[in-house]
């Protein structure tokens, strides 16, 4: 490792120590590196905890197993939602923000001590909230809808966690300013950093919304405020709850571009088009939160339709642009590398044995086909009424957050461990199959929950057969619903196996992996077509071609699926309310 002291003429810069990454040639600020490591490790710990609770939830909802009592089920469901939807994701996103700013821009990080203050606040907050949940009387689930009340430290923990994350966002913005001042890059920031900026902006809105609603709710829990309006709570809470998942979307799209750039040298088809797609996210993606309010009588149709069916579609347009430009940029790079035979040689000969690439591409396909299409269906006011508050909703967000974001984060870990922790991945054969195990399991969870939701199975319910009532109910779910819940349980076992493998591989690699130096730096990143690390990730520039026959076929397949599924749902709706 080469260590150098920057001499930029500024006091902060003089004290900053860098090393030169032997694989990418980027200057890595050691203070940023330590923060990335700490946040990434914390993220993996909370993924392990939250994933374990998720498996318990799935095994309870499987009628033939029905593992937990109702009390424990709601405790596990609350812990699962908080630990994976907030803790795992946001800790990892902090690591992504520091990586995308300080490392990709070869800059010193702004105010690293504040980064540690933020990290400690996030850890304390996460532990405090988990303790409240495990004490057993804060099983209010992820949404914590009032008038259900948790213990005060449940809300206080979330507030501390959010403040810590907000500090991380401002450090990211400060690092952009420093990098520009110290001219560590020329012109515009790289696309991956721009994607991270999008995530940061959405995070600021998300955290501000959280503060608006969680601070009064905390005061209500300690008795200083007498009443919180439940509809007002729900409106503002979802500006945090759903927008926090839009941070994920922006971050994982940035990671798609990053992995494609590192592994196959992919450059964006058009910097302008991809940045415009991110701009659509910045302006409109948060508005998708309104789909949680589509059956609330207190809000007008104008508010609902503008927020979902108009503005949200602009954000969907952004996702569809990325859905085309990411595989398109891979195809362009692969064709440039000589894989030009037929329509799909570029795809067949992509580095499928590299867990980073495989995880990224699976994440891209499953996010688009499962999460994207079902998101548009849920965001359509008329169709939403069929599956609102059914298992279709968790089915949708397991496609976006688990098959999409989590798998993308897992994939990039296979680059972060050698590049930042400077360790080789141990057990490369297991690492090769891990994204497939997790991806297939996650897509099964998503599909079967959406299937059960289409049959009307309610979300967040301990049981679908009601045996404890000891009465014959006049209504029962279709037998196919039990089949769906069983298949969901099996898929959860498969995903959990992939998750355990991921945690084991990462922990073992960090603790026991062979040290990475100049001799093995590129090989440590896994199989790649050209055995070199491309610099496309840190450079502005277009691929320079639109000859992408394979991508056009994939896009055609996507639109065909989208249109068929969308109109099938309108047909279901027409059968619910026949016109005579």
């Amino acid at each position: 490792m080469t260590t150098a002291v920057a001499e930029t003429g500024m006091i902060g810069a003089l004290a900053t120590k860098f090393r030169i990454c032997p694989a990418t040639g980027l200057r890595v600020d050691l203070a940023a590196e330590r923060l990335i490591k700490a946040n990434a490790v914390a993220a993996v710990v909370f993924l392990a905890i939250g994933g374990g609770f998720g498996l318990l939830v799935a095994l309870t909802r499987w009628p033939a197993v029905h593992l937990l009592s109702s009390d424990l089920f709601y405790l596990a469901l609350t812990a699962h939602g908080l630990d994976v939807l907030l803790m795992w994701i946001i800790f990892f996103e902090m690591a992504v923000l520091y990586f995308a700013s300080a490392v990709i821009l070869s800059s010193r990080i702004a105010a690293p001590r504040w980064g540690w203050v933020g990290f400690v606040l996030m850890i304390v907050g996460a532990l405090m909230t988990n303790v409240a949940v495990l004490q057993g009387d804060s099983s209010v689930m992820f949404t914590s809808y009032v008038p259900m009340q948790a213990r005060p430290h449940f809300y206080l923990g979330l507030i501390l966690f959010a403040v810590g994350a907000l500090i991380g966002c401002f450090i990211f913005l400060g690092t952009l300013v420093i990098a520009k001042e110290e001219k560590t890059y020329e012109g515009s920031i790289p696309l991956v950093t721009f994607g991270a900026l999008t995530a940061c902006i959405i995070a600021v809105f998300t955290i501000a919304s959280g503060a608006i609603i969680l601070i009064p709710t905390f005061l209500w829990s300690v008795g200083y405020i007498g009443h919180i309006d439940s509809l007002m709570y729900k409106l503002v809470w979802w500006a945090m709850g759903h927008s926090s998942q839009q941070i994920n979307v922006s971050a994982h799209v940035a990671i798609w571009y990053l992995i494609a750039a590192v592994t196959v040298g992919a450059k964006p088809l058009s910097e302008k088009v991809s940045r415009t797609a991110f701009l659509l996210y910045i302006l409109f993606l948060q508005l998708a939160a309104a789909h949680h309010m589509l059956v609330e009588p207190g809000l007008s149709s104008e508010w609902k339709i503008v927020n979902t069916s108009y503005m949200m579609y602009l954000a969907v347009l952004g996702s569809m642009i990325h859905g085309m430009t990411v595989p398109g940029s891979i195809e362009a790079a692969q064709r440039k590398s000589g894989f030009t035979r037929g329509v799909f040689e570029w795809l067949r000969k992509a580095p499928w044995g590299n867990p980073a690439f495989a995880g990224m591409f699976l994440s891209l396909v499953m996010f688009g086909f499962l999460g994207g299409i079902s998101g548009v269906v849920l965001g359509t006011e008329q169709l939403n009424i069929m599956m609102h508050n059914t298992l279709y909703v968790p089915g949708h967000f397991h496609a976006t957050v688990v098959a999409g974001t989590t798998l993308a984060f897992m994939a990039v870990t296979y680059l972060v461990v050698p590049l930042i922790f400077q360790r080789e991945i141990v057990w490369p054969k297991l690492a090769k199959i891990q994204p497939y195990l997790f991806g297939i399991g996650a897509s099964g969870i998503s599909l079967f929950m959406m299937g059960a939701g289409t049959l009307g199975v309610a979300r967040r319910h301990w049981d679908i057969t009601f045996p404890a009532l000891d009465v014959t109910l006049p209504y029962g779910y279709s037998p196919a619903a039990s089949l769906m819940m069983g298949l969901n349980g099996l898929s959860a076992i498969l995903a959990a196996t992939g998750g355990v493998l991921y945690v084991a591989i990462v922990v073992a690699s960090i603790l026991f992996g062979k040290k990475v130096d100049a001799s093995n730096a590129v090989a440590a990143l896994g199989p790649m077509p050209k055995k070199v690390v491309h610099d496309a990730v840190a450079k502005y520039g277009d691929a320079g071609t639109w000859h992408l026959p394979g991508t056009y076929v994939l896009v055609g397949l996507f639109f065909t699926t989208f249109i068929l599924y969308y109109f099938v749902n309108w047909k279901y709706l027409s059968e619910l309310w026949p016109m005579q």
């Binding site: 913005l173 952009l176 020329e186 012109g187 515009s188 920031i189 721009f194 900026l197 999008t198 940061c200 902006i201 959405i202 600021v204 809105f205 501000a208 919304s209 608006i212 309006d229 509809l231 007002m232 409106l235 503002v236 500006a239 927008s243 910097e271 302008k272 940045r275 415009t276 701009l279 910045i282 302006l283 409109f284 948060q286 508005l287 939160a289 309104a290 309010m293 207190g298 809000l299 007008s300 508010w303 503008v306 927020n307 503005m311 502005y540 520039g541 277009d542």
Partner: protein, 57 residues
């Protein structure tokens, strides 16, 4: 990069950076827009509607 000022010749005039690129290169303008747009369309508009719901007497 595509839109950078050309510095090949000292006498060459600086190329004007397009408006959209200047917008996209300004993180704090994007931050402002990314907070204000959803705050107005989703939160403020929604709060106004909910606050107008008559209370049961």
């Amino acid at each position: 990069m595509a839109e950078q000022p050309k510095t090949d010749s000292p006498a060459a005039p600086l190329e004007r950076i397009p408006f959209m690129q200047r917008v996209l290169d300004n993180p704090f303008l994007l931050l402002f827009a990314g907070v204000v747009v959803p705050a107005v369309i989703y939160i403020l508009w929604g709060v106004m509607e909910i606050s107008q719901i008559p209370l049961v007497k």
